[in-house]
């Protein structure tokens, strides 16, 4: 690289002069780097969240149907007193927990196979095989389950000769479809967690006389638990806020459905905003517990 003569600074391009200006001024560089992304996220995103949170304290005038811009906790009172809202919160959290457990149980054997049994080549192929359905269109996957669970669908056709019938549309279908949708989010962190356990530890356990199941129970499970919690962050939070799957495969109301109905049909944004704080609060609490359990290092 030729050094430019110091006598011709005027001919330097704007870019070059800017580079000189930035040279060694790390605070200025940092400010330039951060202003764009932080500006966007703070203004467009956190600003919007603040607007929504403030709206939770407004209320809908029952007679005129317009939003009254004055502070009140009416919405939270309505939600707290309404038995139906409590049932819906319980149902949503319950399904989210059930889906999380289901996915953890299904994920463990395949993750263990990938981490400790499969050859490197097979492992690579399995990772891609799990990533592809994860990224395939959410909506199309739910729709595919509609086709499968349908009265005249493939499941009833397959079970028919055995004298059995599929679950049809309903809460069971919701559980099944959610478990399907979020399964890859559980497999991948559990696989990564198992991969990190040194094989020598398992061998040592075996040498000391533990049978495989005992090794799994007393050595593998405690070590892989933070990774399961990491996976559960996805399975739990994604279930908590979803309203499309319940709408497509059941008639049951979940938190998301109530929020959506209040924004759209009832045009009651304040109540919707207030109810939307429930999954946010649950999720923040969940994240705090997850962090304490060491899940963040496993993400």
């Amino acid at each position: 690289m030729a050094v430019e003569p110091a006598t011709a600074p005027a001919r330097r391009s704007v870019g070059r002069r800017l580079a000189d200006l930035l040279h060694g001024r790390s605070r200025v560089q940092l400010a330039l780097l951060l202003s764009g992304p932080l500006g966007w996220l703070l203004v467009a995103y956190l600003g919007s969240l603040a607007v929504l949170f403030v709206a939770a304290f407004w209320r809908l005038d029952d007679f005129s149907g317009t939003i009254v811009h004055s502070w009140s906790t009416t919405n939270f009172q309505t939600l707290w007193d309404g038995q139906v809202y409590r049932t819906i919160v319980g149902r949503t959290v319950g399904i989210a927990a059930l889906v999380t457990i289901t996915d953890a149980v299904i994920a463990f054997p395949i993750a263990f196979y990938m981490a400790k049994v499969a050859s490197r080549r097979t492992r690579g192929m399995l990772i891609v095989a799990i990533l592809m359905p994860l990224w395939a269109s959410y909506l199309v996957k739910v729709y595919a389950w509609r086709q499968i669970l349908n009265e005249e669908g493939i499941l009833n056709w397959a079970l028919g000769p055995l004298g059995l019938k599929g679950p049809g549309f309903g809460v069971v279908a919701t559980w099944l479809v959610f478990s399907y949708l979020w399964l890859p989010y559980m497999i991948l962190p559990v696989y990564a967690g198992l991969e990190r356990i040194p094989n020598s530890l398992l061998d040592a356990s075996g040498d000391l006389g533990a049978r495989p199941w005992r090794t799994v129970r007393t050595v593998v499970f405690p070590l892989v638990f933070p990774a399961v919690v990491a996976g559960s962050i996805f399975t739990f939070s994604l279930t908590l806020g979803d309203y499309i799957t319940p709408q497509l495969v059941s008639n049951t109301q979940f938190i998301g459905n109530v929020v959506y109905a209040n924004v759209g049909v009832a045009n009651n944004l304040p109540l919707a905003a207030a109810f939307a704080t429930v999954p946010v609060v649950v999720m923040v609490a969940y994240l705090l517990v997850a962090r304490r359990l060491g899940a963040f290092e496993q993400l």
């Binding site: 992304p37 054997p109 399995l126 592809m132 990224w135 395939a136 669908g153 090794t215 946010v280 999720m283």
Partner: protein, 268 residues
């Protein structure tokens, strides 16, 4: 670990069953796309390619596809820029609140989509008073796509030693030359992978889009609307297959680009 034959068999069988479970719905929808009848019933009455032709010439689906591509490309461009800037700041500088940047970046994806959607919707319509449309969709998508680019770029920056940049500066290169000749060649595949994943994420998104699209329909919104029209289902089947293909291909490419080349192909 020494595993008994029975345990190995159990692990193999469960792995195979899990894969069947993961792929069954995708295969089913693939088969339904060739359904000769309008009636969505198993077993199919016959096979045909007609619906592919009809779907490709469906004006609603085509228009929605155009909107989706525009939104995806614009959101990806913004996410690439902002995600890369944030990743550089966090990976190469020390400053107060550095940990919070990662948290802030992931927040739009970690919070339920309905919360992000409602929040953006109310600030667009109530505070800013803008009309919902393609531009607002792009803002929404870019917001939750930043994290994908950010994660890819920061992972790469952690593997690239800062001493290369220092060496470049010592040899007289200015900031842009160091970026263009030293850093960028090493970042390229991470940027492509992050961009592809961001595009796939945007192309697929339903909930935030519902709240920000107004009358501009993206492809997922078109699918959602047409799910309730039995007459349209044959075309929805075909569009579904195409959408899966369009989101799976970028993911496959991104995976190949970010896979550790040193680890690939070597026997265990």
């Amino acid at each position: 670990m020494q595993l008994s034959f029975g345990t190995r068999l159990f692990l193999r069988v469960s792995t195979a069953l899990t894969l069947v479970f993961l792929y069954l719905p995708l295969i089913v929808i693939g088969i339904y796309a060739f359904n000769a009848s309008r009636v969505q019933r198993w077993p199919l009455d016959g096979l045909t390619l007609d619906w592919f032709d009809k779907a490709l010439h469906n004006p609603g689906a085509r228009h929605a596809l155009t909107t989706s591509l525009q939104a995806g490309l614009a959101a990806t461009a913004i996410a690439l820029l902002l995600g890369t800037l944030a990743a550089f700041a966090v990976a190469r500088y020390r400053f107060f609140g550095r940990e919070s940047v990662s948290f802030l970046v992931i927040l739009p994806l970690a919070l339920p989509g309905i919360v992000t959607g409602m929040a953006l919707n109310s600030s667009f319509t109530q505070v800013l008073g803008v009309n919902l449309g393609l531009a607002t969709v792009v803002v929404g998508h870019a917001t939750f796509c930043i994290v994908v680019v950010y994660n890819n770029v920061i992972a790469r920056l952690r593997r690239v030693s800062p001493s290369l940049e220092e060496a470049s500066a010592d040899l007289g290169a200015h900031t842009w030359q160091t970026f263009w000749f030293v850093l960028f060649p090493q970042m390229r595949s991470a940027l492509v992978a992050g961009g592809l994943l961001a595009f796939a994420l945007s192309f697929d998104e339903v909930i935030v889009t519902t709240f920000t699209a107004g009358s501009d329909q993206t492809l997922p919104l078109w699918i959602l609307e047409n799910l309730s029209r039995p007459n349209q289902l044959p075309i929805v089947n075909v569009v579904g297959v195409l959408v899966i293909a369009l989101s799976a291909i970028p993911v496959y490419v991104a995976q190949r680009l970010t896979a550790d080349p040193a680890a690939a192909g070597t026997p265990r």
